[in-house]
């Protein structure tokens, strides 16, 4: 039973990581790419790390996983905000569908 739960966590995490990467490749400009990478990417790696914590089932490991996930969820909005602020000046000229994809 535990194995099946771990496997489902891993598959979901890999699926979300793949969705995030496809979004980073296919979406038209920086802000939408950032939206894909920060949300779906963090969700995917968090799910995979939770799977690892269930697999090992030790207190230190779980604490480390919780620290990693908290840190990811705390810092990725800050990083995205900084990239967005840095790039928004260049985006005002061509926010329409990008021609040089």
């Amino acid at each position: 039973m535990t194995n099946i739960i771990i496997g489902i966590f891993l598959l979901l995490g890999g699926f979300f990581a793949l969705i995030a990467a496809i979004g980073v490749l296919r979406l038209p400009d920086v802000l939408t790419r950032m939206h894909a990478s920060t949300k779906a990417g963090v969700l995917g790696s968090s799910l995979i790390l939770i799977g690892g914590a269930i697999y090992l089932a030790e207190t230190e490991v779980t604490a480390r996983v919780v620290a990693t996930i908290l840190f990811l969820m705390l810092t990725s909005p800050i990083g995205a905000h900084m990239i967005g602020r840095a790039s928004v000046r260049g985006l005002t000229q061509k926010h329409d569908k990008v021609e040089n994809d």
């Binding site: 990467a21 990478s37 990083g79 790039s87 260049g90």
Partner: protein, 100 residues
């Protein structure tokens, strides 16, 4: 199918998916028209490598890779912030020199 076989299969499948997403993010890193695109792709790759660490933890039972994941989360944030500040200041400097 037994549950152990399902776990093995899902480890392989998620490893393939995560590696594929790493390769796709690298394509955006190589192509990305602006510096901000490249920073976003690099950030995405860091998060994906954290996911690779998680998959390898389940595959081998080696708990030390979780430390790698934690340190990578810390360092990746610093790299993103440093590159974003660099891009912002570079744009400001270019505008300043265009005004002169």
């Amino acid at each position: 199918m037994t549950s152990a076989a399902f776990l093995d299969l899902s480890i392989y499948a998620s490893f393939i998916m995560v590696m594929l997403s790493l390769a796709i993010a690298f394509i955006r890193l190589a192509k990305g028209p602006t510096l901000a695109d490249r920073v976003v792709a690099l950030d995405m790759m860091t998060v994906t490598i954290i996911a690779v660490c998680g998959v390898v933890v389940v595959g081998t039972g080696e708990a030390a890779l979780l430390d790698v994941a934690l340190v990578l989360a810390l360092v990746g944030f610093l790299a993103t912030v440093a590159l974003a500040r660099f891009a912002e200041r570079r744009d400001a400097r270019q505008e300043e020199s265009a005004d002169d």
